[in-house]
Symmetry: C2
Subunit: 376 residues, 2 copies
């Protein structure tokens, strides 16, 4: 169990730690708006409330947890800085939180990481420290930084302070839309590698049809995104579930997960943490499976896990752009995908989910990449 | 001067009619959020407040005015329905407002109008009545509908009720962000036809390079949008200026206009309404130049008009997508384009514009068309 994750009651976070987090971070975060759409209500047959965390600082909910963790440190600890070797939205969020506190953030990034990711970290003042691409190298570089600086390692999700920070989203949302009886929260945004990996650069060159070339680029971008998204690891849904169930135990908390990386669904079914070795291998060490802090919360408080396929996620992304006018990343759209999926609509147990809060968790999709990819 | 535009003091609308409109439409409209971004503040060197009217019902501010006009009608008038022969965002907004009041909306649409436009009208329950593409045909079809039904013709901007409705945006925004000292409002979203018209379908077929094909499709989509956008005609800026100047006469109201259709800037310079015949011809009768209701307000209350070119608008659109995570149409992004333009930055008179409200006026860009265009 990570540092900073002492038990608070049954889990590493509880409603008090979440309320403390809210008081701590309130002046730093954006209170993100809740949008609704009659058209999407009609399509889904429910009332939907979209919590737009894509408008959060850093473009994703991650800033809540990072901010809480950074501002939880005592002055002596804080002065030495913070370290992470996850290089997704958490790294950017941690850099920004550290900048606001005026302390250094050391971000270990593997060589070959997407440029936009590195730029995000640097924009927010994070100090990039390069490692090789393997998890072994990343961990050893991070541990060297820890030794040299005395900084604090902050895990992206398996940490009570992070979970408490993400939980503030629940408090905010349930105040903004008190009628909510169901929450749908992304639990991981990893797409099915095996299907998309069939396409390679050489196959792209042979795709003369413009439509397929376009689709290829789309899938390529989603591939890139995936490495960012898999880092979710249950931190968001854990915090959201803890706060929501504490405020109103009757609220249903559902997690949405891509079918191609359904470790959370498998874990729930098995009653223990299941990791997917093949995904783990290809995702190159961004081992964002449920952690020992998040798993007990997911096991006990998440009522069900809805799995959706890539096609449904892309369709939901389009609806977010076209109807809501909101830019989301694939993992951001997965909650809407879940609510529109057959497995949701046809599930009799979910029939009386009437007022549904959907977390649009982030909007960090590289649209510039879309432009640029066509330029090449 | 149109029906419904009796003078209220000096102009066809005033702060009282705007407050009346607010009370009338408040329960029907979305209170749209105001977003901010440290990154865009840093780029512009000012504090920016983005009023997201792209999240308004119907995807644009137009619903405010349409809703006010429809709910201003007395019961006998209303029962006979409403008519318009402008087929942009106003038509969809009017259909929706009429649906909410439970009265018919007759929308005269020229054959060959973009499919998404027609679908929007139909989705909101408007009755589509086809005309030929000429303005003459549209007017004669509309007048026939008026005779047959006794319905009320509602002009998209040259009407006091419409202007009052759009003005409610000011009241809302200045309450949400009271520090604002400057407002930037789109006055028309028409792009420079002459430059983009050089590209034709045959030239598309000869563009083998993927990037140029992509650019072509982008320009094509903007072309399509243009017909919707030019309908702005000063209704928004008139309402916004009336309300803002009444609340705080020191507030600067700036209009943003594309360089290729700068009739407002030319009119301001000349002191009388200038129409651009060549634009008028190509835009096929969507004669959205300043009307006799909007012109006096623009002449007296708009402090300056910032013109920007297409390249600046596209760049601003990208920033809205990538940084704000908001989907805007070209005319929606023009306010941000203005604030980032050299002509704004280097203008000494605008140096002390510190807290700037930018109206993201609409988000009805046909992203599906982007997908579909590649499919063909």
């Amino acid at each position: 169990m990570e540092e900073g994750s002492q038990m608070r009651g049954k889990y590493v976070a509880d409603i008090s730690s979440i309320r403390e987090a809210q008081a701590r971070i309130n002046s730093f975060i954006h209170k993100t708006p809740v949008l609704s759409s009659e058209s999407l209500n009609a399509v889904s047959g429910r009332r939907l409330f979209f919590k737009c965390e894509c408008f959060q600082k850093g473009g994703a909910f991650k800033f809540r947890g990072a901010c809480n963790a950074v501002f939880s440190l005592d002055n002596d600890q804080a002065a030495k800085g913070v370290v992470t070797h996850s290089s997704g939205n958490h790294a950017a969020a941690l850099s920004l939180a550290a900048k606001l506190r005026g302390i250094p953030a050391y971000i270990v990034i593997p060589k070959g990481a997407p440029k936009c990711k590195v730029e995000n970290v640097m924009r927010y003042g994070g100090q990039v420290i390069w490692s090789e691409a393997t998890m072994q190298s990343r961990e050893s570089v991070a541990s060297k930084v820890l030794q040299e600086t005395g900084a604090v390692l902050l895990h992206p999700y398996n940490d009570g302070r992070i979970i408490s920070g993400q939980g503030t989203l629940s408090l905010e949302l349930l105040e903004q839309a008190p009628d909510i009886d169901t929450l749908i929260v992304p639990i991981s945004g990893l797409f099915n590698y095996s299907s998309s990996a069939k396409l390679s650069i050489s196959s792209f060159l042979f795709l003369h049809n413009l439509y397929y070339r376009f689709l290829f680029v789309l899938i390529f971008l989603i591939q890139k995104e995936k490495k960012i998204n898999k880092i979710v690891g249950g931190g968001l849904v854990s915090g959201v579930a803890l706060a929501a169930k504490s405020i109103n135990p009757a609220i249903r908390v559902l997690a949405a997960e891509p079918r191609g990386a359904n470790d959370a669904a498998q874990s729930k079914a098995a009653g223990r943490i299941i990791t997917l070795p093949e995904t783990n291998t290809i995702a190159d060490g961004l081992r964002a499976f449920l952690g020992d802090c998040t798993w007990p919360i997911v096991r006990d408080l998440v009522d069900d896990i809805i799995t959706v396929d890539d096609k449904e996620i892309i369709e939901a992304m389009k609806l977010c752009y076209e109807i809501l006018k909101v830019v989301v990343e694939p993992s951001g759209a997965i909650g809407l995908a879940a609510v529109l999926s057959d497995s949701f609509k046809k599930n009799p147990a979910l029939k009386n989910c009437s007022n549904i809060g959907i977390i649009l968790s982030g909007g960090n999709v590289d649209l510039g990449g879309l432009w640029d990819s066509f330029r090449k």
